[in-house]
């Protein structure tokens, strides 16, 4: 009976007959939003034991990164947290730029920041929307996914893709933003506060929602730290850790915004944190969309970014630089760096070692989900199966990032 389709051992539930009923949630279940297998032992409705099996979406990102040129790793990063691919793109190129010891142009920094905040909003919209669906509130899902589509239209306009954006390049961006994009973005964002208010009105004081989420799957601040929580799940326990504030990159230090925290560490607190973070992201975006610095989006170094096409076709230097970069790629100097960004789920870190080759020697991703999901059994002990479904959505486990 209890067989695993990937054959991996689920920690160690004893194979002897048990007084508890055993049940598989997943691996393919509407509430897992991805392929996760949760194996529970139940006493009536109550969870008395839980084992997790992951790896269904393992594509060996780190091995692939070692066999591809530096810039060609970027499309792979899209497939980590595929809900907010822009932030993975930015996180990876930031680490490579740290290896190279370069700083990207002011315009590039600003555009990356805008994309990151738009992605954060999308990620939170999806997380809250699907979480609400899991507990039976379909309306919020439609409201939020309408806004999500609008933001994906913005992404499509800058890079041609909605989900798998691959927008950044080492030392710059694939392209500058098109004319009129900033105004369009402003119009899209004008609608958002109203949508957030609508869902706020539907959920925050909704008795059913509160019953289903308050006190569900709580975690204490101490335990959250020990498990390596970061991002909204950690801030929901009352710890105001946000890399954008503690160790600001790009222009996060110059804008006015607040780190959102809640207490309780339960599903309701995580929901509240995400709702308010969207409002904070809107605040940042409002400031960031004003006075975008002029100039190029790529660093002025043809050994890192492609030269403009006019130079490629009209000068021998441009042609050579283009050829060299396409054929040999960039070659960062020897070194090992760690660079972390605040992704939608928490700290997304890249530990990269370069040996002056065309591809990374080692590219380690520190995924925020992996640490968070590990605490899931402990958070759910003694709670009900329906709590597990509500809690899973609020942790925002994205299988692409979890399994890499």
């Amino acid at each position: 009976m209890l067989e695993s389709s990937t054959g991996k051992a689920l920690e160690s539930i004893a194979p002897t007959p048990s007084k508890y009923m055993r049940l598989n949630l997943g691996p393919s279940h509407p509430a897992t939003h991805g392929t996760l297998r949760i194996f529970v032992e139940l006493e009536g409705e109550l969870i008395r034991g839980m084992k997790l099996e992951i790896g269904y979406l393992h594509r060996c990102f780190e091995k692939m990164a070692e066999t591809h040129p530096w810039n060609q790793v970027i499309p792979f990063t899209d497939r980590l947290n595929y809900v907010s691919a822009m932030m993975n793109n930015v996180g990876y190129v930031m680490a490579v730029e740290k290896l190279l010891g370069i700083e990207v142009t002011k315009r590039c920094q600003r555009i990356r920041l805008i994309m990151c905040e738009l992605s954060r909003i999308v990620d939170h919209l999806v997380c809250i929307g699907t979480n609400a669906v899991d507990v039976g509130a379909l309306t919020c899902f439609w409201y939020f996914f309408r806004e999500r589509e609008n933001i994906y239209d913005l992404f499509e306009a800058v890079c041609g893709a909605r989900l798998t954006t691959a927008f950044t390049r080492v030392g710059g961006l694939y392209k500058d933003i098109p004319d009129g994009w900033v105004e369009w973005c402003g119009r899209v964002l004008e609608n958002l506060p109203r949508t957030i208010d609508d869902v706020d009105g539907l959920l925050t004081n909704n008795r059913i929602w509160i019953d289903r989420t308050r006190g569900v799957a709580p975690i204490s601040p101490e335990l959250a730290l020990e498990y390596g929580f970061t991002g909204p799940c950690l801030r929901a326990t009352g710890i105001a850790y946000d890399i954008r504030r503690v160790n600001p990159y790009y222009e996060y230090g110059n804008f006015e915004w607040d780190v959102v925290t809640e207490t309780g560490g339960d599903t309701y607190a995580r929901y509240l944190v995400r709702m308010q973070e969207m409002r904070q992201s809107l605040r940042i975006l409002k400031q960031a969309l004003k006075d975008i610095p002029e100039g190029s989006v790529n660093v002025d170094d043809w050994s890192i970014t492609l030269p403009p096409k006019e130079d490629v076709y009209n000068s021998i230097e441009g042609l050579m630089a283009h050829f060299k970069l396409i054929m040999h790629g960039i070659r960062p100097p020897m070194g090992e760096v760690y660079s972390a960004t605040e992704a939608a789920n928490g700290e997304l870190g890249f530990y990269i070692r370069s040996e002056e080759e065309g591809a990374p020697f080692r590219c380690r991703v520190r995924p925020p989900c992996f640490a968070i999901y590990q605490a899931f059994p402990e958070m759910l002990m003694g709670q009900t199966v329906s709590d597990a479904v509500a809690a899973l959505g609020s942790l925002n486990i994205v299988a692409g990032e979890l399994d890499r």
Partner: protein
Amino acid sequence: MLEIDINWIDSKYPGLLAVAKEFILGQEPMSPEPVIILKSEGIRVVVPFLISSGERPMTTMVDLFAFDYLKSKLDMPERFAVVYQFANLMENRRIFLKVYLDEDKPEVDSIHDLVRAANWFEREAWDLYGVVFRGHPNLVRILCHQDFEGHPLRKDYPANQFQRLKSSTSSQGL
């Protein structure tokens, strides 16, 4: 090649030298991050100190992963290494510990009982690199299939190698 900058370690992590001087081999010269290279037997001395050292402990184990230096251009001390990253998140202090491990016997003590986060990270390092964590209660594959042979992130495992799945199901461990 490994040099110990005693003043640097002492200024960043007061007390660490007193506790673990005999285990500290040096700093990683290739990295701008604070990477301390340790003897593998020192890990269970240094980690307890880091997570409970007075008023400024490291609150979180952020990451744990392995390295395979087989095809490195440089003359590395050993083939394998495990890197631990500890942080005090609010103070934005980080420390990396690197432990080099022998090619024939890549083994290091598990720290799963000291830091809860280590459990899965150690399983992952074992799965992908074959590093054995002594004392780990459940050192089984976490990302690859249980019937997978070898350790895919090792440098001598070809990136394009496929394995045929021999069994579709298995109930080991259930």
